[in-house]
Amino acid sequence: MKKTNLKTNDLIFQTATKVIVFLIIIYSWHLFFSGHYTPGGGFIGGLMTSGAIVLLLLAYDIKTVVSILPFDYIKMAALGLLIALLTGIGSLFYNVPFLTHTFGYVELPLLGETALATAVLFDLGVYLVVIGVTMTIIQTIGETE
């Protein structure tokens, strides 16, 4: 978060980060997707993902991270909220109460028979909101002097 001191050499840290970030992100996706069956879910998945980005921020400076991940996190949070809301509204089209979820087993190419639930879409909203919110907070505070 703090501006990294350019004089110190962070080579080990930065190299390790390059590997570890992907591991964390993959783990966070695992947490996210398996949330319906095992511990995890949108919230903790989102926190983990943003943890990965924070690691990037620590290893590099903010400008670099922004150029790697050019997201507007406020918009990301808004998008997540919109998705969560739309999954709720979607149930209205099927003449069931707001936020009624459904699930089913679908034959997908590559993956075979998979259980898909609309609740995951809602969780996706949560996931995006959590990333958006934490990154907005951290970036905003980090950018101020």
């Binding site: 511990p39 995890g40 903790i44 969560a84 707001f98 979820h101 609740a119 909101v129 919110v133 505070i141």
Partner: protein
């Protein structure tokens, strides 16, 4: 909405037009337009006299809030009509007088007439309403318009003071009166006065009956300036004289009289009513006349004289209520007091109105109202002199003026009351005529002062601002009309007897007579040589003597200590209220958040603790508790150590770290109690929040950054121990008294069946209770936007500077 309703609210409607008339017809005095309305209304109301003489009443209902039983019911009976005629009749004369009194170049006439019309409409509404809520509404309208009229010259400090004082006192009474009305509603379940009267025998013994009586009398006494609430009336004399003549002598101050008369059928017949009304009335009469003598301002004398005369009318209404106590009064032996009250009400309106107008003329023509500066005006102002002689002699109770008749009847009723053997009158009854007689002597004295100190004696031109001369004829018309009425009513009282007075009495003491009978109203100037006549002769002789030797005994007024007057008491009360409330507010509104937190916590301890004790809610049993393992014990010990470290750490950094340790042990607890989702989340969130704490710590301002231990305060310790104890007790009690099964079994059974998920926590979060989650993420978004906004907008602001 009928014509009658329209007549009542006509002044309000007309008031809307007044500013336009003022603006577009600048050449014509606005009063001329306004004058039309009261005259039309007066003629409209005159036509009801016939109906009333036949003993009929008129009821017209317009729905207002029918679901609450509040309707604009206009009700005309003898009493209402009498007041309506007074209001419109004197209203016309006052408007005419004001046209010449207020200059159209200097004064804000549009304000004046709007207020005056508002008052007129409100007053008509008061006297012609059958519904008490509507009556109350109009009642407050009169207070409000009176406030505006007293403060008409709002640049003067005394006007504002007088206006505020009258507002405070009359609104105080009005609100109490509303309480009385509501009590009556609770008793009778109706807002209609007529229906209340019909239920009187049933409610008489209820314990709310006397409180209602007292509350309503508060309203009447404050409005009618009875002791000790009269103090606003002398200060209200800062109003323009037409206002004083209209509001503060003829109409508004009689609203209280009206109220007493109107509610006589409900309350009269109880000893409380009789004693309160007549005793306060009599004392007010004495006190007002006693104090009037020492005034030096003409309007001040008239104000106190109004107080005194109102007390006299009030006492007669009280004494007259004895008629309702006795069941067998078929003759009018005791109802003579009511006749006298009504008759004097009319007389007082005539002579007091004319006297005020004359005083206004004197003020207008000489520039002062101080009797010490006035004198010898007789030759300059012969017409005003004549009018004031008529008015003042009538007030003093001399023949051949109408005041003589009503004063004789007043004495008659006071003498007769001593013969009654009810309501403990055997012993105290004798006081009534004596106080009345003494008060009449003072009345005689100040009446003489008004006339002779002003118009006879030495002329002092050097003390006057202008050279006195007779007023223009337009200004004299109204007082002349009123003064002629004073004489006409003496010689031809039959003009009033069965046309106005009898119907009014019939509505004050209804149900006393059968079918077609009428009250016997016969007013005559000569009764033969009886006690009353001797009393009057005594009043004249002693009064004359006292007036001539005024300078010898007026020293007694200096004996009364200045600090003990009611005005001083009122001022001190207002100041005291002001001061004590601000002291109190300053005492508890300290501006320190720690104090407010202390209040909140103490309140919580007291309320929750008391309800635990009172409801006997505490219980403790170990039935449902799980065994405590070694891990739990160790973790709990770690948390306790962490918490204690937070409190006693010398450095803030230590506190933050200790707080983090508490958070991480909490997540371990989650692990231990098999809540993996919570444990994961708690770990991440704790990390983030500790990082944020460290950030805050790092950016603490240099100046105040002193590493200091938390200062110890005993109160804080007690409060925090109390809160902890209470919360623990509640937790234990709640856990020991679990009554129903939890619903978690439903989730366990159905999370896979219905939602297709095996992680129950997540299924609850996104499916069963997804709605909560939706708004929790909204909360997160708001928090992020808040932080973003706070930091970015502040930075921008600094950049601009």
């Amino acid at each position: 909405m009928t014509l009658l309703h329209l007549a009542i609210i006509a002044p309000f409607l007309f008031a809307i037009l007044v500013p336009f008339l003022y603006k577009y017809f600048r050449k014509i005095h606005t009063g001329w337009f306004v004058l039309i309305l009261p005259i039309v209304l007066f003629s409209y109301f005159v036509q009801f006299i016939d109906e009333m003489m036949d003993g009929n009443t008129i009821i017209q209902t317009a729905e207002w809030i029918p679901s609450l039983g509040i309707n604009f019911t206009a009700y005309i009976d003898g009493l209402g009509l009498l007041f309506a005629l007074l209001i419109t009749g004197i209203g016309s004369l006052v408007v005419l007088y004001s046209i010449f009194y207020l200059a159209k170049e200097k004064e804000q006439l549009h304000h004046f007439y709007v207020y005056l019309l508002m008052f007129m409409g409100a007053m008509l509404g008061v006297v012609l309403s059958d519904n008490v809520i509507v009556l109350y509404t109009f009642w407050e309208f009169t207070s409000l318009s009176s406030f505006l009229l007293i403060g008409f010259w709002y640049t003067r400090e005394k006007s504002r003071y007088g206006a505020q004082k009258s507002m405070m006192i009359t609104i105080f009474g009005g609100l109490l009166m509303l309480g009385g009305f509501i009590l009556l509603y609770l008793l009778t379940n109706t807002f209609s006065i007529r229906e209340m009267i019909s239920q009187v025998p049933a409610i008489m013994d209820d314990k709310l009956f006397v409180p209602a009586l007292i509350l309503i009398l508060f309203g009447a006494f404050t409005k009618s300036a009875q002791f000790p609430f009269y103090i606003w009336l002398p200060d209200a004399m800062e109003a323009p004289t037409p206002v004083s003549a209209y509001l503060h002598s003829a109409t508004m101050v009689k609203a209280g009289i009206y109220l007493v008369a109107r509610f006589s059928p409900v309350f009269a017949g109880t000893a409380e009513w009789f004693w309160i009304v007549s005793a306060f009335g009599l004392f007010t009469m004495f006190w007002g006349s006693f104090n009037a003598v020492k005034q030096t301002d003409l309007k001040g004398i008239l104000a106190f004289s109004t107080v005194s005369q109102l007390g006299m009318i009030m006492s007669m209404l009280g004494v007259g209520s004895a008629a309702l106590v006795l069941d067998s009064v078929s003759d009018t032996y005791y109802s003579v007091a009511i006749v006298a009250a009504i008759f004097h009400l009319i007389n007082h309106a005539t002579f007091k109105g004319s006297l005020f107008m004359v005083v206004g003329i004197i003020d207008h023509e000489t520039g002062t109202r101080d009797i010490r500066k006035l004198g010898g005006l007789m030759s300059f102002m012969p017409i005003s002199f004549t009018i004031s002689i008529i008015g003042a002699f009538s007030m003093a109770g001399l023949p051949p003026f109408n005041g003589f008749l009503s004063k004789e009847m007043f004495f008659t009723s006071m003498v007769r009351i001593t013969e009654l053997n009810i309501l403990n009158l055997e012993t105290l009854g004798l006081l009534f005529p004596i106080i009345a007689w003494i008060a009449s002597i003072f009345t005689f004295i100040y009446s003489m002062i008004i006339v002779f100190k002003t118009f006879t004696g030495k002329f002092q031109p050097e003390k006057l601002k202008t050279k006195p001369h007779e007023a223009p004829i337009g200004m004299l018309i109204s007082p002349i009309i009123l003064a002629s009425l004073v004489i006409i009513f003496f010689f031809f009282p039959s003009l009033l007897e069965y046309t106005i007075i009898e119907p009014a009495i019939a509505s004050i003491i209804p149900g006393m007579l059968g079918g077609d009978e009428k009250f016997h109203v016969h007013i005559q100037p000569w009764h033969g040589f009886n006690t009353e006549l001797w009393m009057t002769i005594g009043v004249v002789l002693i009064g004359l003597l006292a007036f001539l030797m005024l300078s010898k005994w007026s020293g007694i007024y200096r004996f009364t200590p200045k600090k003990l007057t009611l005005n001083k008491g009122y001022d001190a009360a207002i100041r005291g209220l002001d001061k004590s409330s601000s002291t109190f507010t300053r005492f508890y509104m300290t501006g320190f958040i720690r104090d407010y937190l202390a209040y909140i916590f103490i309140f919580m301890i007291v309320i929750v603790g008391t309800s635990l004790v009172v409801k006997n809610g505490f219980s403790f049993n170990l039935r449902n508790t799980a065994p405590v393992g070694i891990y739990e014990a160790v973790l709990a010990a770690v948390m306790v150590i962490g918490t204690i470290t937070v409190l006693f750490a010398k450095s803030r950094l230590t506190s933050i770290i200790a707080l983090g340790s508490v958070g991480y042990s909490l997540s371990l607890f989650f692990v231990l109690f098999r809540a993996p989702d919570l444990a994961l989340t708690q770990l991440c969130v704790e990390t983030v929040s500790v990082a944020l704490f460290l950030l805050c710590f790092y950016y603490l301002p240099e100046l105040k950054k002193r590493e200091k231990k938390l200062p110890f305060k005993l109160t804080n310790l007690i409060i925090s121990l109390g809160v902890g104890a209470i919360v623990t007790l509640i937790g234990l009690a709640a856990n020991s008294q679990r009554v129903s099964e939890t619903i978690s079994s439903y989730f366990i059974e159905n999370s896979y069946e219905l939602a297709g998920g095996k992680n129950m926590v997540n299924v609850i979060l996104v499916d069963f209770r997804g709605f909560d989650t939706l708004f929790e993420i909204t909360v997160l978004c708001i928090a992020a936007l808040g932080i973003y906004g706070m930091i970015r907008l502040q930075a921008k602001k600094e950049g601009e500077e």
